[in-house]
Symmetry: C2
Subunit: 162 residues, 2 copies
Amino acid sequence: MQIREATEADYEKIWPIFHEVASAGETYAYPREVTKNEGKKLWMELPRKTYVVENNEGILGTYYIKTNQAGPGSHVCNCGYMVASSSRGQGIATVMCEHSQKMAVELGYEAMQFNFVASTNEGAVRLWQKLGFGIVGRLPQAFKHPSRGYVDALIMYKWLKT
Amino acid sequence: MQIREATEADYEKIWPIFHEVASAGETYAYPREVTKNEGKKLWMELPRKTYVVENNEGILGTYYIKTNQAGPGSHVCNCGYMVASSSRGQGIATVMCEHSQKMAVELGYEAMQFNFVASTNEGAVRLWQKLGFGIVGRLPQAFKHPSRGYVDALIMYKWLKT
């Protein structure tokens, strides 16, 4: 398993993962009916960097890193991570999150923030906590879950600079 | 004093207010060196609607309203308010915030969120609390204040739908 920066050509393999996650509507603040081109803009073009995790069989997961707020907030980054459903349970999210924290520091960021973690995404919340993120905010009923209705969204945050 | 939707021509009068607030770097997550064109994009084009407050003498303040998160978060809006320094202390922010809550409901939003309120902006924090917003999150040292250094940023939130 290796992580490398994504190339434009990788998007053909990233799109099925992105589409699967976004269209499920359970974890990300993307429109469920997002198109392939919109997905490319959101995942590959607007972020500062995009990475893929791959093995001999192909791309297993992907993440982006971007500046979360401009100006007085530009020392804090934001990341998003997606793992192909066929590759879950192998620790790929952990590998990506640890990698992203190193990249963040290399890029000059001092903290990392997740803006909108569905409170129903309990596996992710536990994982981010294990990796050092704290829950610093709770947005009441801010996430409209496709099967569970209005649920809270969490804000998670980790100071990275030592 | 009246509030109306901003026209493109209003930007000539909005820009001095925007520039004054953004370049101070004390309250908004905009680059302090923001240009006139970038300001137009940020304040007039990316938001869903932009409004101005005016009297016989001209534009006293301005606010925008936009969707805070796409997809499962699209029922929550975000607003930003700016008052000309020469017009402060006249309740203009209150008038704008109350107006924005009505507009938000008319536009179909169910809640309003402020993502990044500098904790040092105590007057604003008190005012939003008075107008029904709760502090739902605190981002440690997420705001780099020009004179006070790293300060916390607050997330404030109000459910609007009755």
